[in-house]
Symmetry: C2
Subunit: 148 residues, 2 copies
DNA sequence: CTGATAGGTCAACGTTATTGACGTACTCTA
DNA sequence: TAGAGTACGTCAATAACGTTGACCTATCAG
């Protein structure tokens, strides 16, 4: 399939992905754990902040989990005053999620940590590394193997 | 902290990481699920293949989980004939893990899928993308936030 | 012989996810 | 306006995978 040298390189890349992702998530994971929250809470905050007024269904599609799995974290965030759930004005079956000031603050704390880490990392990796890294990740996202 | 344009870029990079990693792991996850195995089994096979004769303790350090958590997947792999556990010749307290032909075959199947995906992706992302991507990931691994 | 090391194992528990079934509120269409 | 479809909530059972804590055996080193 691949010659031995190429295989060595690609295997090294696979390991890099594993360890790199772990290093990347370690930071916010610790901050979240202090509040009794997990990665799903972080993701919800991220996507609700990005798309204010996101519906439950749209969030379900993005995250690729079941509504039962989403229910708890959503309720946690609501009861902690980090998001607000309100029916859509036009179609009252649809629930729209909005981030509160508190939610925005927590999201900023988590995201700042990751942004600083990425910014430093891109700088250390040299000229053009950021664009190339993004290009690889974008190409991966576009791949049909993504379960979304 | 960051100016708005920079923040937009870094937030996009964070999302890329999330979706990219998911696309990357989706393929082997499906193959593993067919055999009733999970990511931990894959990781064990990967590291035992790479470092033949790896000890339990060394594997524990790499994976960053408890011995109780490692115990099941190790036993699963052994009972399915994918790895062999044997005491070290010099220090019989130490158990050395070895991959079998069957284990090597499964590992190859999983890894081939990921190698092909990465190879395609690097090619699509253009000249120099692979080296730059690796540089970013290596820099991330070297970061003290890695819990290992 | 003694203390340290490597590892195995039992038990209880927690988190996060799943599938399946069913209920409620609401909208849209014939 | 009745009935079908949609969006979402929720109960229940189950599973995968991890944790902490405690305790055990086997082995090695001084």
């Amino acid at each position: 399939m691949f010659d031995p040298n190429r295989e060595r390189e690609l295997r090294a890349a696979i390991e890099d992905f594993f360890f790199g992702y772990r290093a990347f998530t370690a930071l916010p994971d610790r901050l979240l754990a202090e509040r009794g929250l997990g990665r799903t809470h972080h993701r919800i905050l991220h996507f609700v902040r990005r798309d204010d007024g996101l519906s439950i269904g749209a969030l379900l599609d993005i995250l690729g989990i079941t509504k039962q799995a989403l229910h708890r974290p959503i309720k946690d965030l609501e009861s902690q005053g980090l998001i607000v759930i309100a029916p859509d004005a036009a179609d009252r079956r649809v629930r729209r999620l909005t981030i509160t000031d508190g939610g925005r603050a927590l999201e900023a704390e988590l995201t700042d940590a990751q942004m600083r880490l990425l910014d430093d990392t891109f700088r250390q990796a040299g000229e053009g590394a950021e664009a190339a890294w993004r290009a690889v990740m974008d190409s991966l996202r576009a791949n049909p193997s993504d379960p979304r």
